[in-house]
Symmetry: C2
Subunit: 242 residues, 2 copies
């Protein structure tokens, strides 16, 4: 990917989940010359091992600062990732509808408005930091069931953001960068590897154990394993078994 | 205001700060026939008395449920409402710029991306509730310095929301209702009074005491007092002095 380098000292807020995708996005933002302010959002998710991973990744990739913001979505319910009464699907059940009224193309692990909430918090921090760029690991290829991972959504968020903030009123438009939105998992892994991301630090699993080791069975584990295979790179994921 | 009534059992999420404006908006949503799910966001604001007021208002106006969601913006700093190192402006200083680089038309009490964050959380809850309406007390008249209180912003948020959610993908568009956006403070007070809002339950003051009594001196108190005068209605606000 060729891309103009940021002017010296330019800041970017980078949403960092602790997973493989957002670690690669942080590496991309660093490679473009940004001072990176990593933001993780603790939205009451079950897989808290991801947040520990985010701390490791922010350190390893040289983020200027890393903040974990708390937003408790679990009191609203409605997702397998925040509602402990809903089982995380495994194997053949992965991506199955939650109920007859659900859209079968949208995984039960969808968290209502999650990306919108995370981008909104990033927007607030970016304004305080006088950062003109937000980086975000949306991906439309492997997670096509999530509506808020599509290019049209990202563009609409950017348009809204540029009507929302003091910075925009002052003539400093905000860019929402989604540099891996059109890449396959294999392409993301190759790009991250090229930029020196240590994927063993990252956690993608929906039900990782306290040490951050992956279950190897959930939807996210399956996509990740297939990605390494397709990229022709060794899978450095730490699994619970093996 | 004439407006079509909601179909029986239709739900709406109503952002409720505990101030006069959002109490009136809740009364408007109730008058249109919605089952109202009141949402307050605790974004680390100093004026916690507002949240206590929100609890009283939700009860008095018959909200079906009231949730207070926590989002701690104070770690980002940048506003007199969340950063305790910045003084709340009073009297002649109210609305003065925070520094030479600030836009003088934007009050220092502006919280970065606050409305975007609150609407995003409302969007998540609305999706879980299968509510198709969000009500929100933005007002472009008295607070013209806040970019995220203008009609163009509200429209852009709605457009983004309809690309963001599972509900929208399923063909249930979300409406972002801002019924007082074009009203003066006096008009809001008259409308609220007509709908039976007890304004003595509400707190608008940026530095109310623990009992919810207003300082009478800050920008928000001044606008509120002038509103009652212009509406020709007695000011039921509880002040610290008098």
């Amino acid at each position: 990917m060729s891309h103009e380098r940021a002017p010296g000292g330019a800041r970017a807020v980078v949403l960092l989940s602790g997973g493989l995708d957002s670690a690669t996005v942080l590496a991309i933002a660093r490679s473009r010359g940004f001072d990176c302010y990593a933001l993780s959002v603790d939205y009451g998710q079950r897989h808290r091992a991801e947040l520990d991973a985010a701390v490791r990744v922010a350190g390893a990739l040289g983020a200027a600062r890393h903040v974990i913001a708390d937003v408790d979505l679990s009191r609203f319910g409605g997702s397998a990732l925040t509602d402990t009464s809903i089982a995380v699907p495994e194997g053949a059940d992965a991506g199955a509808p939650a109920s007859a009224s659900s859209n079968p193309s949208i995984p039960i692990t969808y968290v209502p408005a999650r990306n919108t909430i995370m981008l909104s918090i990033a927007l607030g921090w970016a304004e305080v930091l006088q950062a003109d760029d937000i980086f975000f690991g949306a991906n439309a290829v492997d997670y096509s069931g999530y509506p808020d991972c599509r290019p049209g959504y990202v563009q609409a968020f950017e348009r809204m953001a540029n009507l929302a903030t003091k910075s925009a009123v002052e003539g400093r438009p905000m860019r929402i960068n989604a540099p891996i939105i059109d890449l396959s998992k294999a392409q993301i892994i190759r790009e991250g590897a090229r930029l020196g991301v240590d994927f063993s630090l990252t956690v993608s699993c929906y039900q990782a154990d306290a040490a951050g080791r992956a279950c190897g069975r959930c939807d996210s584990c399956r996509i990740r394993r297939e990605g390494f295979a397709a990229a022709g790179l060794p899978d450095s994921t730490r699994y619970q078994t093996g």
